[in-house]
């Protein structure tokens, strides 16, 4: 943002950045530790992605300023994320759903 931030308000931002840094460090440790838990594959995937998403949200929200960003950018990103999930899940489901009972497709997720 090119409006004038005076030094004091930048200091607030800096404090936030450092807190986020700390949080990211902690979450990284958590991620690694979680991998030593004896979880099943799908539980493991689920947990890993949840933690990664939290870290990603912190980077997106605070380092990339999305928390205060304009609607247009948010909309473009939401649309992208939507198509991203389409691209990930539809081929996945198509692959599973061959010659099987269509009513049971959700079981393999």
């Amino acid at each position: 943002m090119s409006d004038n931030h005076d030094t004091a308000s930048m200091q607030d931002h800096i404090r936030v950045y450092l807190m986020v840094f700390g949080a990211l460090g902690v979450l990284t440790v958590v991620t690694v530790l979680a991998s030593y838990l004896n979880l099943s594959t799908s539980e493991g995937i689920f947990l890993a992605l949840i933690i990664a998403s939290v870290k990603a949200s912190l980077v997106l929200g605070y380092f990339m300023h999305l928390i205060t960003e304009r609607k247009m950018i948010i909309w473009i990103l939401l649309m992208t994320v939507f198509f991203f999930f389409i691209m990930i899940f539809l081929p996945l489901i198509s692959n599973i759903d061959h010659a099987g009972d269509p009513a049971q497709w959700w079981k393999v997720l």
Binding site: M72, M79, T80, F83, I86, M87, L90, P91, I93, S94, N95, D97, H98, A99, G100, P102, W105
Partner: protein, 573 residues
Amino acid sequence: MYSNSNNHDHHEETFIQKYIFSVDHKVIGIQYGITSLLFLLFGFSLMAIMRWQLAYPGTEIPIVGFIFGEGGVLASEQYNSLGAMHGTIMIFLGIVPLAVGAFGNYLVPLQIGAIDMAFPKLNAASYWTYFVGGVIMISSFFMPEGAARSGWTSYPPLSVFENGQTIWLISMIFLITSSLLGSMNIIVTIVQLRVPGLTWMRLPLFTWAQFVTSFLLVLAFPPLEAAAVLQLMDRVAGTSFFLPSGLVMSGEIVDVAGGGSPLLWQHLFWFLAHPEVYVLILPALGIVGEILANNTRKPIWGFKSIVYSMVFLGFCSFIVWAHHMFLTGMGQAMSAFFQTTTMIISIPSVVILTSYFLSLWGGSIRFNTPMLFALAFLPMFGIGGLTGLPLGLAASDIYLHDTYYVIGHFHYVVAPGTIFALFAGIYYWFPKITGKRMSETLGKLHFWPSLIFMNGIFMPMFIQGLAGVSRRLADGGVSYAHASGVLQWNEFMSISAFCLGLSQIPFIVNIFMSLFTGEKSDRNPWKSTTIEWAAPSPPLAHVNFDSEITVHRTAYEYSVPGAKEDFIPQTES
């Protein structure tokens, strides 16, 4: 307020700065235009060679036969090469650069009152990346391996082992990058550089179409770029992204790690390639809208519905792709899902086409050359769209998939569809770009035969397809008993194709003649409302307009009751 003397910050430009590495969107647009038209001509020639073979199998191909061994007759691999390259060149080197790179770059800034695109240097970079990609693609013909021959769809495992694919893939990476840079530029330009007063609902349909098209390009192309890298690695690094275990070739087990999936390529490829076909049609729909409004002297019927339909169409285009994959063994649930979304996506197309037809009612129609092409577009696109329905329904697609029916369907949409709209656009905007008028006589000499011969080539394809003639057959179906009843159409279609080629001569002559000896055009020869016509013909270098532009009206204020003339420009208060 704006005058040529403002060019104090542009010191005398060298020839190279002005014409080769220019950052002026108009020069870049013309560069795209010339390059893409040459590629279209080349791609057409490849098809003409193929069609000779189909009409007169075993005979020597005239003029260029010496290039192909064995008495000037095409070997099957050569036929396949021509087929794959025809498709690739027409789509990626021809239509998209013309519709988006040329028309988009040239006209979008003008239609929104801007002096240039948001990122002029990026614009130049995107053209030169396209150029390099094009050179690489054409160079493949001269490589020892020869050009690609696995279809423009490049399906593995064939494409991993067949000749010519490596260069094809490298070229695609350049072309995709060019597209990404260009479409990013268009989006930012339209969002940020509209002049005061130009609200979203006052944007002309051409610009709306370019906006939606650019989103499709930005979001749909990257997965194909990823997939192209993966296929390249399968070819050169020995990976098995797309190669399943236990693959046998020529009786021997292939020595790769295996474990890959050919279907993965198909999903990633069609994830782009379906939105790609909407990239091919949307700019055309935009151009037709402009020309219909202008030559009926009426606002377009249902402007808002058309805008919403274009946006909805763009959105839906991302969720229909597997209708190209109905025969890959997907189960009922997913086939039903994609069939449903495909049926839904026909709705916005129909809304747009119907609105265009309705726009004609009560209009004072001027039958000039751009209008003739725009009018012909309507039923041609209609045929193309309607013939798509049996393909979108899984049950009928089982019989029609990979037959000539499909070729007929998509060519109707792209050839007498998009290409006619692009011709219309060239005739329409030629005076603005060059300051000269084109000959109406030559224009009509171009139009009527083209219309007749387009139908001559593609209508019989439905007949052949319904009889079961497969596509990509080097012998045109001769070796199949079920095709025997419809093979006589081959000669008819080929002659139509050659005549279609000849029909382009008036067009080419017209362009060159008009450039040098054409009647001078004033600023607004078609008496149009949109902003590009407020600029001089041609627009001023780097600044486009010679007066300040503000917008006070919607895009198509024709025949407004009580007005002085039968049109009020957007810029008039």
